[in-house]
Amino acid sequence: MSERSELQQHEPDICITCGDVAVPLVVVSLDGADAVCRADDGGTELVAVELVAPVVPGDRVLVHARVALEKLT
């Protein structure tokens, strides 16, 4: 599970507050109301998927602050 450090939060490219850091991730497996999702760089994180349910492994979702906002076509 990749965790973003506090230091990374301060890097100029990252501002979680604004929506531009919403990133597309691929659902790998389901874990209750959450899903383990993988980024292009191979890192994974646990994402809440209630707002885009149902999802299945292989779906691509747009994720912001560990919450999936939209299923991508």
Partner: protein, 378 residues
Amino acid sequence: MRYVDEYRDPELARHLADRIAARVEPDRHYKLMEVCGGHTHAIYRYGVHDYLPESIELVHGPGCPVCVIPMGRIDDATAIAEAHPEMILTCFGDLMRVPGGRGSFLDARARGADIRVVYSPLDALRLAVDNPDRHVMFYAIGFETTAPSTALTLQRAKADGVGNFSVFCNHVTIIPAIKAILDSPDLRLDAFIGPGHVSTVIGNRPYEWIASSEQMPIVVAGFEPLDLLEAIAMIIDQLSDRRAEVENQYARVVRDEGNPVALRAIADTMTLRPWFEWRGLGSINHSALQLSERYAEFDAELRFDVPGVRVADPKACQCGEVLKGVLKPWECKVFGTACTPETPIGTCMVSSEGACAAYYNFGKASRQRVELKVKTGA
């Protein structure tokens, strides 16, 4: 990288630049406002200006949530944290350096307050569950992109009966900000580049009044350089054809109806405030969210005494004018001298989405490239 490389292809960018150049009308000046701070960042980062004719001016809008937060709201949260030793105040990383009247959260942490950065409000909730003898307050901030994650967290907190968790809510909404910009007498705009990820949540329909009543084009755009160039091309097409429509360049992500489930989660947990103070734009009616009565038990403003601090912006700071698009970042008196990302005076220099920080980090290179082009005749 899949889904990224195809939106950064220089050949396609030149093709779009040619399309834009072919359609701009001679002797006409175009003022387009990108509402979203993420677009401002992308424009400077990728040098989108370099592909545009000089007659197209991009004006930076108020869509950086960190930038529009008034200093008093930082002081209020600091005061709550310092008055309650059991408190863990949690926030997104960009907020740590936002100056309040009594310094930033980093300064308050140095004075002894327990203030921690989280990546998601869900992490703040987890912190509360893991520390039952402490109280965890999450400083919620952001437009409609971020509000769903706060809403979902509140719903989980209620369902799980987490009693030591609260939210200090500063969520704002984009439509009243656009209305305030249009009411500003200082600025005449021709069109808007609409926010991409806010629209993922609210959809395209809330913008229809811009086209019908204001007779201005708005094109919702993604965040890659080709997204922005294509959106600008669509706007120039509309203006040349004397059309004013809501168009969606970012259809691979944004649906017309937005995400109804996310909107219901927001409506369940939050309600409109009568008014909210915006830095630079002043008080705007019904422009922000507070927790709904159903979630009153999680409302930090009800659970704790809030001083309600109001602090005037520093006199030297011209963030207000920058946020309204009246001034360019480099036209501010303290830009790059007294105010830098390391020692910001104004909020626009704090967040990477802020126009000043974006220009400070990337814009100088962009201007140098323009100067080089002029010198070499390229």
